[in-house]
Structures are given as C-alpha cells and as structure tokens.
C-alpha cells in the first residue's frame, strides 16, 4: 500500500517529478502535492465534475484517475487558463454573464468546456446543455453558464483567437519546463 | 430486502438436505466464499467476498445459525454478516419437497442490509444477490450431478 513510485507529469506546461503512492488520486496529487488547489473535489465518485482537468487535452475527472496514470502525460488545470493575469475568453464570458456564484464547481465546468468548445465552436444551446450535463452546479441553475457559452460562441472573433488550440499552446504542447 | 425463489435439484431430498448443510459443499459452491466452518451443530462461520457496483470485493464475516430443522423437509437460518463495507442480517427459511426424481427447494429470506453497501450499492443489491444465489445453486446442482454420477452422493 505504501510503496512509492516516481512519476513525471507536466502540469500547465511545467514538469513536476514526485514520488507518490500508487493509490494517490490525481486530484489529490494536484491539490496536495503540487498545491494547485483550483481543482476542487466535490464527490470523489466521478459524478459532480468539479475536479475536471485536461489530461493530454481531454477532459477527465481527476478523482477517477490515479496520479501514476498521468505519468509522462500533460495535465492542464484551471490555474493555466489565464495568462499573465489576463482572463481566458471563457473566464471572461463567465464573468460577464454572471455564470458563477459560489464558484466551487466553476473550475471543473471551465475545464469541461475548453475541449468541448474546441470541438464544437458553433455549439447551440442544446449541445451546450448536454456538454454541461456532467457537471453539477447547485447555485446557478445553469442558465447563466449556458448564456456565457452562447455569448462566447456567438462572438466569433473572440472564439477564433483561442478555439484553435491556444490552451494547448500553454499546456500539452508547450516546451517542457524545468523539473521542480 | 426480500429474496425469494425456487430451484429444482436433480437428486433425492435426503442428498439435497445433506449437501445444503455440508460446509465443504457450501464453501465450494457459494460464490465468493473462502472458508465455511461448522463451529457447532447448528452454527456455521465463514468468510465471503461480495462485489456490488462501486464496491468491489467487500469481505464479510458471516455467521449462520440453524433453527427448527425438520430433516429432510425444512429449516430456518439466522444470518449475520459483517465487514468493512457494511452488514447484513436476517432470517431465511428453506423447504424441500420431493418432485419426481428430484427435489424442489423453496427459499425465502428477509435480509436487512446496512452500511456502505446499502448506501451506494442499493440499485444493484437485488441483482447481485439474485445472481449470486443462482450461481451458488447452479454450482451445487453440478456438484450433485457429479456426486450422483460418481456414486458418492
């Protein structure tokens, strides 16, 4: 149970090497070992979606992934969305549309929507709602989240600038940073 | 949870009776059973592993106490199981009737399930218990067929 394995994971473009227990969840690895507490844990059984991060660019529930499974791979978290203090267009849209209240589920929702919008840059309301249906929010009743995404999808100029994979530029495909 | 059903064994009632109360047969045929020991005339203790949905291989320590046995017709059982994922306890009644060359068994159990296994495995409990029982009875039937064929029954 306590045998340790050394893993190397690139998180938000920076490579980290750590010795971890095989049973350590990726969510706990990010939060406890790396101090990236923007990823939140809401249910630990893969339903609420609060812990969603990108693993090699795809949205995964980090509470259902062991840290050792991320060995040699790239993880993107909410902390990597804004660059130099400038909000990502999706974050900006959430702010403009009042798409968050307590904000606890928000990081997971953002990280769900990033790859969704990459693949569905012209998504309609129904598609947006389906994409969101794996993320639970108790505060907002979802309406403003949907509105935020619609706003972004309709503002084609904004979307064009990042929909083509800007995030990957900061994350998975970025030059590997120094090990920490 | 009520578990109720019937099963027909291909052999005589006396053989069925003996097998149902034989700890070695039970250990061999009940799915997930690792050990079953007869600790007194009317008392068995054993260990079983059960998988229910998100809970994989929960180990239970099980105690079965027999009561009101009327060989080879019927008996009752008090069942108590406890493990890190919860508990089960309840009563079961088994009756055996001659049915041509075979034996018709009827069973009814009223089990209370508690703890994690009840809380997060509820949707699957019914299915899992039925499946385990079916597997067990089928395995016992095969064992009986084997013994009858070998003449060791």
């Amino acid at each position: 149970m306590t045998g340790q394995r050394t893993i190397g994971v690139t998180v938000n473009g920076t490579r980290h090497e750590r010795a971890v227990e095989p049973r350590l969840l990726l969510s706990d690895f990010l939060r406890h070992d790396l101090g990236l507490t923007g990823t939140h844990v809401g249910c630990e059984h893969g339903v609420c979606g609060a812990c969603t991060v990108l693993l090699d660019g795809e949205a995964v529930r980090s509470c259902l992934v062991f840290a050792v499974q991320a060995d040699g791979r790239a993880v993107d978290t909410v902390e990597g969305l804004a660059v130099s203090g400038v909000l990502h267009p999706l974050q900006q849209a959430f702010h403009q549309a009042h798409a968050l209240q307590c904000g606890f589920c928000t990081p997971g929702i953002l990280m769900t929507l990033v790859p969704f919008l990459r693949e569905h840059p012209h998504a309609g309301e129904r598609e947006i709602r389906e994409a969101l249906s794996g993320n639970l929010c108790r505060c907002t009743g979802y309406a403003n989240i949907v509105a935020a995404v619609e706003r972004l999808v309709q503002g084609a100029g904004e979307l064009g600038s990042w929909g083509a994979g800007e995030l990957e530029g900061q994350g998975a495909d970025a030059p590997r940073g120094a090990a920490t | 949870m009520i578990v109720e059903g019937s099963h027909t064994f291909p052999g005589p009632r006396g053989v069925v009776w003996k097998m149902l109360l034989d700890p070695d047969v039970l250990a061999k045929t009940m799915p997930g059973a690792s050990t079953i020991t007869r600790v007194a005339d009317d008392r068995y203790e054993g260990k079983m592993k059960v998988g229910v949905g998100p809970i994989t291989a929960a180990e239970f320590e099980v105690t079965i106490t027999l009561s009101d046995p009327v060989p080879p017709e019927r008996y009752r059982m008090l069942i108590e199981g406890r493990g890190r994922f919860g508990f089960t306890r309840g009563n079961a009644a088994v009756t055996l009737a001659e049915d041509g060359a075979g034996t018709a068994m009827h069973y009814q159990a009223d089990l209370q399930i508690g703890g994690k296994i009840a809380a997060v495995g509820q949707r699957l409990l019914d299915t899992v218990s039925k499946m385990m029982l079916r597997q067990g009875l089928e395995a016992m039937t095969r064992e009986m067929e084997r013994r009858l064929a070998e003449g060791t029954a």
Binding site: R31, C43, E79, P107 | -
Partner: protein
C-alpha cells in the same frame, strides 16, 4: 434607497476573478506546515446500543497520531448547544435533545460519529478506521412519522417517554364558525419528503493552535463564523479574543452550514490544542449524506373552509414534522411551515398545530426554504382543489383572496420564527399575479394552446402559484467602513458568504453612499478578526440586515468626511458633494480633496486634535430590523408530461418576484434562477430514501439525482418593487425565494397536464417512478371532466 450610480445596477461581480482562476481560498485549500488529517468512524446502524469500541489496533498503526472515542473526551464531551430556543407561544411543548460529539451510549442515526482518527494523511486515517472494532447492539428503528408516535414505538430518546419533540398550536379567528359557514370543506393529506442540501463543496474544518500567541484559528465552512467563535471559546475555556474563525470562500451553504456546532466543528479545535498540531477534516460526499443536516419530511392533514364565491373563510392544518434524531435548531422549520401557509391571502381564521417527531434519521435543520415550501404547497394545493370544485379559474380564486395592496402593514396575528408578530411590511400581490399570467400567456394557454395540444395527443399543463417568504429577520448585523489613505475603502462585516455576491452588493451600497468607484471598495466577510459582532447568513437576511448595516456605517463615514472636508475647504457641509472618490464643493469641482488625502488629514501624526473627535475616516454601525419582512412572488410554469413514461419536461418557467429595492438585478435574478433549480430538484429528482431500519439507500450522486443543465430551464423573470419600510435600503431577502413555490407550481402543472385522468397530486417529490404509479393507480378513475378520486375525499372530515 433609490436607484443610483450603483444601487439597482447590474454591477459585475468583484469576487469573480479569484474564483475563475482557481485562486480563491476554500477551507480544503488551507495547507499548514505539520498539518495532520482527520477521519471519522461513523455508525452503520441507525439505532443501536453502543457496548464498546476497541481502537487499540488503530492507535498502533504507523502514521496514526491519535484516536479519540467518547470516553477520551472527558469533560469536553457534552451535547451541543440548543441553537434556537422555542418561541414564547402559549402551551408550547418542546423536548430538547442536541447532537453529541461522539456517540457514548447509543447511536440514533446512521452516520453518527463514533471515533475520530488523526493521522499523517487522510489516506492513513481512513485505513485506520478499518482497524477499529465497534460493538453495536442493534435496536429497532423508527423512521415513519406516524409509526414514531405510535404506542410502543422504539424510543430515540428514552428520557422523554415518547418520540414527541415538540407540539405547537397557533390559532387566530374562529375556525369552527368558519367551518360551519363554509360552502365547501376541502380536505386532503399532503406529504413532503426529505432531500439533501447538496452543496457541491462538502463541509470542512481546519484548526490550528498557535502556542506562541495562545490563539486558536479555525477555518470552517460555516455560514455563521461569529457564533461559532463565541461557542468554541466558551466550550474550550478560551477568551473570545483568543479564537479566530474564518469562513473563507464557501462552496454553497443552503442552510446546513449554519452555526451547527457539528461534532467535527467542536472536536477538531479541541484536538488541535491537545496535539499542538494543525488538523484538517474534509467531509466526503458519502459522509455528507449522513453528517450534514437535511430537511423537508412533513405530513399535513389540512382543510380549507371556502365560501361559494371562492373566498377563504378559514384553514385548519395539523401536521407532523420530522426533526430527525436531534433537534438542535429548535422549531424554526415547522414554524416557518405554519406561518408561510397563510401566504399572500386573507385568512380570517386559522388553526395550525404541529407535532415535531424524533426519528432515527439524520438531523433536520433549515435547508433553502426552511419549511416554507410545505406551507406554500398545502395552501396552493387546497386553493387548486377548491377552484376545481367551485368551478372557478385558478387565477381567479387567488385574485379574490389576496391581501389588498392598500392594507399594509398586514397583521396575520400569529408569531413568526423570529419571535415577532407575523406582520407583512409591503407588497402588491395582484400586480405580481397579473404580470406572471401575462408573461406565461395564461389565458391563451388555457383557452387555445392546451386544448390544441391535447387534440394532438400531447399532455401539456400550466401551474401558477403565489408565495410569501418571511425574510430579513433580526437580531442584527454590523459593518465597519474605513477610507484608507490610498483612497480605497475597506468594508468589513460579520456574515459569511457562500456565493451570494456580497463582495459586490455590499460594495455597491457603500460606493453609492461614498461616491467612490465600486472597485475601490474591498469587502471582508466571514473573518471574526475583521469583524466580531453579528449572527450569520441565513433566513435570506444578508442583503437586508448586513446590507443595511453597511449602509449605516457608510453614512456615518460620509458624515465624518463632510465634517472634516468642510473645515479643510472652509465651506458649509451642505455645500459638499462626494463624487468619483473626491469630496468637492458643489458647482466648483476643482475645489476639493480626494478621500485618500482626507484620510491622511484625519489621522495626523503631530499637533492637537479637537477634543471629542475620532481619528480616521472610519465608522462602525449596526442594523437590527424591528421584524422580518415579506418578500413575495408568483411562479408559473408550463410542463409536458409523457403519459407513457411519466417523464416531465419543463417547457417554460416564469417568476415575478418582489424583494423590495433591488441592489443588483443580475445577482437577484441569478439567486432566483438557482433557487428554482433547487426547487425543481426537490419537486422531481431529489429524495433521500430510507428503509425501515433507517438505512439511507441512495447516499451518492449516482443514486441521489441533482438536476443537471438538461433539467433546468432558463427562468423568465420580472421584478416588482414594493420597498420595505423596515430598513433604509427598502430591500427584502431573496436567497431562498426561488426554491419555495416550485413544488406547488410543479404539482399544479403536472396535474393540469393530466387533467381528466383523475391524477391528484398531494405529495412532493414526485419522481417519474412515483408519478407513473399515480397515473397507473388512477387509470379509469376519471374520464375527462370528472374529478376522479378527489370528489370522494373532498367532503370528508378533516384530520
């Protein structure tokens, strides 16, 4: 307070940036050097005698620092405080039994904590839970409310001799006379079942004892940090000034994060002091289904005495309220049910009696709506049935019974949960109804749309209901406003915040008064070091009570600014105005000072100051309302029911809402939308299902279904503003509003969609499975035009 540069405006939230970028601090994000982790062993049994606990193996496990059971707590073991004593209602019976930190002699609900393990990691602490051997001797459990009161029922608390937790009767007018004079008596039994608050952030506590300064710091997911500080200090024998409780960003509250003094809240600080190391406990989701309080189990036997013209003559309601295994929150929930039933209606006579019942289920305390749902459900359903029997339009029967807009303040002549008379401050109920009917297209729907759809084989229905929410109760809140030399304004208040937008709305109030940019107002909430007086965020009171205190403090600071500036600028105070962070002479904008400059002048380093003056541009003020105020509204929805599968789709949802003066419409609308989502969950998806032995059978989000983005429509919303005379802002609460009438609207709409089938809905939640059963049960019971089962029951005597 009328609309201005900020008040009444859609100011974007100031707290968003932190939350959107993952920088906001939630309790689970607190990391301290040397921190240990805590896990709790909880009972698998709902009712059992505790014969013993052997924790020796757990204590011996490497990585385990301590294991505590009830005897280890010594004198610290004691039942929690009674948080809300019963109101002074004559004849009231109340049996107090509050939760204990760790079970000592018996357990009374599943999930009750038995032992506390402290270890180097949460993983190790949970490993050690499995080493603990518990000897529990199961007892028969009580789960049903009527069964709990039956003779010979197992007793949750032996000392009371029964499971009766409370009995309260309130009455006004002469109901017997009303009943005798009635044209019809509409009587039904109504059920409302339990749900979970299900904040996405579970509860958590971090406690740290700093022996260098003899101070305890507790980070707590609480809605009420100040009462928690005060209580902890008393329990631990510390001065209040030695205890700091911080409620940082909280991931949703919804009621159960109130000042509960949960076992974990009480034990972590105690153990942190003993061990001299910081401790963290974060509830997991399964724990939350047992260890966090719940709400909503009630059974009502109610009857409405109604005249031929549909006028209400009186209401009688006798109900049972499930308080769970303990009743630390007193009678708030059932008294809310009792009072809220009266709604926006003139009810000349009212008899209401409830019995609160102990059961072997988790504790019941307020959850968003806090008992108001039940009252609204009962009254609105009774009116629906009355309308049907009297062949009156649903909207018309409501219209005929509304409290007229010119009769405020309106006294219902009973006592509300705040121990004050239930007097409505302001409202315009007919206007809200007309507006909602117009928005949802009521007339057209009833006359054209529904018949057309029905001919096409589609079952669509409309629900339209009214409600009152008593909000903004006392006792008081406070705030401190400080203008700093930088010109930015610091605002501190004691209430905790769980997503309501306080960082923005409170800043709007202060910015309006001080004439500064709203971004210059920095708000601190929920840190007892910053502000130590107040109660907390509950009862939809944050904006009303704390908002008014912010206003009062800002007004005092404004007076200081004007007084000092008048001296500095050598002009009359009345000639000054505060604009864009400056105080200046009206009509002579270049003649002025920035507030920052003035703040420096107000804090001189040398020289004499005028005796009696205070340094700085700072003021603290408090606000306590005379009584709660009455927010109100009308909800209308259109649903379609699939008669084959009993699936219900909500096609449209309209809310007309009156919370008095709106500080930030964007925030208010979002609160309502979120409340409606919660209400939809309660109405159709969410139900905690216990078996008869008290086992919760759906303790995960796989089986306990929260509404998703596919289930909640975007609400169409309109505001009506009847300012409250009870506070300077004129505002009323809104936090719970959306969730309150949803069940009633849903029931009416579904029943309307199934009209002619005889289905009558008297229970919530109404899952597709349950609706299917009701539909199957009523097959053939009624042809179109018949009232089915309703007729036979409507004349029966009431409970």
């Amino acid at each position: 307070m009328s609309a201005g540069r900020y008040v009444g405006q859609r100011v974007l939230r100031l707290e968003d940036a932190k939350l959107l970028t993952g920088r906001a601090l939630f309790v689970d994000d607190v990391q301290l050097p040397g921190m240990l982790h805590v896990a709790f062993l909880r009972s698998d049994e709902a009712h059992a005698t505790l014969r013993g606990i052997d924790a020796s193996a757990a204590r011996a496990r490497p990585g385990v620092v301590a294991v505590y059971t009830a005897p280890d707590l010594g004198d610290y073991w004691r039942p929690g405080p009674l948080l809300v004593p019963p109101p002074p209602i004559p004849g009231l019976v109340f049996n107090t039994a509050t939760q204990v930190p760790l079970a000592r002699d018996k357990v009374r609900h599943c999930g009750e904590p038995l032992a506390m393990v402290v270890a180097e990691s949460r993983y190790l602490a949970e490993d050690a839970l499995e080493d603990i051997v518990v000897d529990l001797d199961p007892l028969p459990a009580v789960t049903g409310l009527e069964a709990a009161l039956a003779t010979g029922a197992p007793l949750v608390h032996e000392q009371f001799g029964s499971n009766l937790a409370a009995q309260v009767r309130q009455a006004t007018g002469d109901y017997a006379a009303a009943r005798a004079a009635a044209h019809r008596i509409i009587a039904r039994r109504f059920h409302y079942d339990r749900g979970a608050s299900a904040a996405i952030e579970n509860r958590g506590v971090v406690a740290q004892w700093d022996e260098r300064v003899d101070e305890l710091t507790v980070w707590d997911t609480t809605q009420a940090p100040i009462p928690i500080r005060n209580g902890l200090a008393a329990m631990l024998g510390l001065r209040e000034s030695q205890v700091r409780v911080i409620a940082p960003f909280i991931g949703g509250g919804f009621g159960p994060k109130i000042m509960m003094f949960y076992p974990e809240e009480v034990l972590l600080p105690w153990a942190a002091i003993r061990l001299g190391r910081p401790l963290k406990w974060i509830e997991d989701r399964r724990e939350s289904f047992y260890a966090t309080t719940q709400e909503r189990g009630q059974i009502h036997d109610a009857e409405l005495a109604v005249a031929k013209d549909g006028k209400i003559l009186g209401v009688r309601d006798v109900f049972l309220h499930d308080t769970g295994a303990y009743d630390p929150y007193g009678l708030t929930v059932p008294i809310n049910s009792q009072c809220t039933l009266l709604g926006p209606y003139v009810v000349p006579s009212y008899e209401s009696e409830f019995t609160a019942v102990f059961t072997n289920k988790p504790i019941v305390t307020p959850v968003r709506g806090a008992g108001r749902q039940h009252g609204v459900f009962v009254m609105e359903r009774l009116l629906d049935f009355a309308a049907r029997e009297l062949d009156l339009d649903r909207v018309e029967i409501r219209r005929r019974n509304y409290i007229p807009p010119d009769t405020f303040p309106y006294d219902h002549r009973i006592l509300f949960q705040d121990f004050r008379p239930l007097i409505y401050d302001s409202g315009d109920y007919p206007a809200a109804l007309e507006k909602a009917a117009e928005m949802i297209g009521y007339e057209r729907f009833v006359r054209e749309e529904q018949p057309r759809q029905r001919r096409a084989g589609r079952h669509v229905g409309l629900g339209i209901v009214s409600y009152i929410e008593g909000t903004g109760i006392g006792p008081y809140e406070g705030a401190r406003v400080t203008v700093e030399p930088s010109g930015s304004v610091r605002l501190a208040t004691g209430v905790g915040t769980q997503g309501q937008g306080h960082f923005t709305t409170f800043a709007q109030v202060v910015a309006e008064v001080l004439g500064v940019d709203v971004e210059r107002v920095q708000v601190s909430t929920g840190d007892t070091r910053e502000f130590g007086w107040g109660t907390g965020t509950f009862a939809s009171r944050g904006a009303v009570v704390a908002g008014s205190a912010c206003h009062a403090a800002a007004v005092k600071v404004r007076e200081k600014i004007v007084t000092l500036a008048a001296e500095e600028l050598e002009c009359a105070p009345g000639d000054l105005e505060l604009v864009c962070g400056r105080v200046r002479v009206k009509g002579s904008p270049e003649h002025g000072l920035s507030l920052g400059e003035l703040a420096v002048k107000a804090n001189p380093l040398r020289g004499a100051v005028t005796p009696g003056t205070e340094p700085g541009l700072e003021a603290t003020a408090y606000f306590g309302p005379d009584r709660g105020n009455a927010a109100s509204g009308v909800h209308a929805m259109i649903v379609e029911v699939d008669p084959e599968t009993a699936q219900v789709e909500i096609k449209r949802y309209v809310v007309v809402h009156d919370c008095g003066t709106v500080i930030n419409p964007m925030v208010v609308e979002a609160q309502v939308q979120g409340g409606v989502a919660h209400g939809i969950g309660n109405a159709f998806y969410e139900q905690l299902i216990f078996d008869e032995s008290g086992q919760l059978m759906n303790a995960s989000f796989m089986d306990y279904l929260l509404p998703t983005a596919l289930d909640v429509p975007t609400v169409e919303l309109a505001h009506i503003e009847t300012p409250s005379p009870l506070n300077p802002l004129g505002t009323k609460g809104v936090g719970e509003a959306g969730a309150i009438p949803t069940g009633a609207a849903f029931a009416q709409a579904v029943e309307d969609a199934l009209s002619g089938t005889g289905v009558e809905i008297t229970e919530i939640p109404l899952s597709p499975g349950r609706l299917f059963e009701l539909m199957a049960g009523s097959q053939g019971a009624g042809e179109p035009g018949s009232q089915g089962a309703g007729d036979s029951r409507s004349r029966r005597d009431g409970a």
